[in-house]
């Protein structure tokens, strides 16, 4: 009982703190613009003319928002797939097998992650142009793994290390080949790590915008952030309400999905460890 109370005491306040901006987003999203600009209307709740669907309907009728969402989803899924294909084997090898060469390759992968993206987009755009992907979302599918793969590789390396080598040894003593050990024993147990990588990579795709801005200019091929920024921020006049709607729509399902993933780690692998 005492432990439960302590958990509430820690988790409760932080949850409120972290989610507070989303409360403000919800209020702003459904507030009439005149009320938003009226300081006598409380920012914690609606006035007489709200809640309203005006902002949401503006977003869906006057912009290509659904298209941007779809683009983002496609890029996100592709990048996640590429990241997993490249990073899971590499991470395992780094944790278990690598000799001297492998280790330095690993450090090499990592060092590329340090390259500041601030100016890198200029030479990268040149590369994109060479492969004729300018103004296409596939340019982002190509480029984004450059920062998701290094992270994912090293993170997975960490996860593989937490798996005691004894488990593998046991399998190998039973006569399984290395490859079989890998696919039957190691990969299933590394699901929490893999799901973390999925969460991480997908969010980075949703978040990135320097490349997304500079590589793609036609409105119908934009990502969520870049589309919203161009069509809803008119210089000194942001469409506050519509922007908040645009922010909430991808956030809530993604957070739900991530939360379900967390259940999966905990239920699937720890058994009774935390009960």
């Amino acid at each position: 009982m005492k432990e439960k109370g302590l958990s509430y005491l820690i988790v409760g306040p932080f949850a409120i703190l972290l989610a507070f901006p989303f409360y403000v987003m919800v209020i702003t999203a459904f507030k009439n613009r005149a009320e938003l600009y009226d300081p006598s209307v409380t920012p914690y709740w609606f006035g007489k003319q709200s809640p309203t669907w005006d902002n949401a309907s503006f977003l869906f009728h006057e912009t290509q928002y659904p298209r941007w969402l779809a683009n983002t989803a496609i890029v996100g899924l592709c990048v996640v797939a590429i990241t997993l294909v490249l990073a899971v084997p590499a991470g395992y090898a780094l944790a278990r097998l690598a000799g001297r060469v492998g280790q330095s390759l690993g450090v090499g992968i990592f060092l590329t992650y340090l390259v500041p993206p601030t100016l890198l987009f200029i030479p990268l755009f040149w590369v994109i142009n060479q492969v004729h992907l300018q103004n296409s979302i596939w340019s982002l599918v190509l480029v984004y793994p450059s920062f998701t793969v290094p992270f994912a590789t090293w993170l997975l390396m960490g996860f593989f290390k937490t798996i005691p080598a004894e488990l593998e040894d046991a399998a190998r003593v039973d006569g399984a080949s290395r490859l079989k050990t890998l696919t039957r024993v190691v990969f299933p147990i590394s699901v929490p790590g893999v799901l973390t990588v999925v969460i991480f990579s997908f969010s980075l795709v949703v978040n990135e915008f320097v490349y997304a801005f500079t590589f793609i200019s036609p409105s119908e091929h934009k990502m969520v952030s870049t589309g919203v920024y161009t069509d809803l921020i008119r210089g000194d006049l942001p469409e506050w309400g519509a922007i908040m709607v645009a922010a909430l729509i991808p956030s809530i399902p993604l957070a739900l999905l991530y939360n379900t993933f967390l259940d999966r780690f905990i239920a699937g692998f720890t058994g009774g460890a935390f009960r």
Partner: protein, 311 residues
């Protein structure tokens, strides 16, 4: 079935090759290495080359000026303070993330009613596209419409014209960007820690229980060491991510209130110089200053992560 049987001898030979750890390792690592190096290697070399030239606005060539760009920036007070701000921003925000996320992850391993909802709320900041959630922060920090200031004035804690200005006062501005950055990273750090805790196999806990380890002692002697590799990598990436990311600072403060520009980071300064002002050579030089520093920090931490193996 027959086909499978026929293929077996060859399959076995192939498998045998994979039994040698070195070969298997190379096969597993090289796709990732090749992909990243092919993509980033060339552009990185171009960027390094640019930093030694006086290239302007988008041209990938210029006159060779040697170390001049580096020397100029090294003595430039704007650059010097940008380095200091980057250091503060990175260290403080990561310290906050580590402590809060550690606490939350540990508390979340317990079962209690409503946990699912609370965890959902905690995850929200990481799920939102940062460029868009920053607009919410901008609105909350707005000099005229800030919800915090509305509250202060409403409860007579401050006079309308004397409210704190979150993005206009040098220290507050730095505090604000640190807070927002931590807000954004904490959920992800919680996920990593939870996943780390979750991936500790049941057998280990059982063994600990047999040894009579419980509570804090179990945490110190079993859970923590097992988590070290993951925690180190997570922290390392947090550091790199913070030091090289410019979204939050650029969107919230554009480098900070004049004259102190108290939130000018190496990244924003490089962007202003190289992109907005068109001095590409010096801009590239500025952005490359971080590289060796981060490389040293990273290699040290990676070595540590590798050493911190489960015994």
């Amino acid at each position: 079935m027959e086909a499978l049987a026929a293929a077996r001898p060859r399959g076995r030979r192939l498998t045998n090759v994979f039994e040698r750890p070195g070969v298997l390792a190379s096969v597993l690592i090289s796709p990732a290495v090749l992909f990243v190096l092919l993509l980033v290697g060339g552009p990185l070399l171009i960027a390094i080359g640019l930093s030694f030239t006086n290239a302007t606005s988008g041209q990938l060539h210029g006159k060779w000026v040697g170390l001049e760009n580096f020397r100029n920036e090294w003595t430039n007070p704007s650059f010097q303070s940008a380095v200091w701000h980057t250091f503060l921003f990175t260290v403080i925000s990561q310290a906050i993330v580590l402590v809060v996320a550690g606490l939350l992850a540990h508390a979340l391993t317990k079962n209690f009613p409503g946990k699912w909802l609370l965890r959902f709320l905690i995850l929200l900041p990481w799920a939102a596209p940062i460029a868009l959630s920053l607009m919410a922060w901008k609105w909350m920090f707005d000099t005229s419409y800030s919800i915090f200031n509305w509250t202060l004035v409403h409860f007579h804690l401050s006079k309308p014209l004397e409210v704190p200005q979150y993005l206009a006062e040098p220290k507050l501005a730095m505090g604000s960007v640190i807070a927002v950055h931590a807000w954004r990273i904490i959920p992800f750090a919680v996920v990593i820690f939870l996943a780390g805790l979750a991936s500790i196999p049941k057998e280990v806990h059982d063994a600990a229980a047999i040894d009579g380890a419980t509570g804090l002692r179990k945490f110190w002697s079993v859970s923590l060491p097992l988590q070290l590799p993951i925690a180190t990598v997570a922290l390392l990436f947090g550091i790199v991510f913070t030091a090289t990311d410019m979204a939050i600072v650029y969107i919230l403060t554009q480098g900070g209130p004049p004259p102190s520009f108290s939130t000018e980071m190496v990244t924003t300064w490089s962007y202003k110089t190289g992109i907005e002002a068109g001095s590409l050579g010096p801009g590239a030089a500025i952005s490359l200053f971080l590289l060796p520093v981060l490389a040293v920090v990273s290699i040290a931490m990676l070595l540590f992560a590798r050493k911190a193996e489960v015994s």
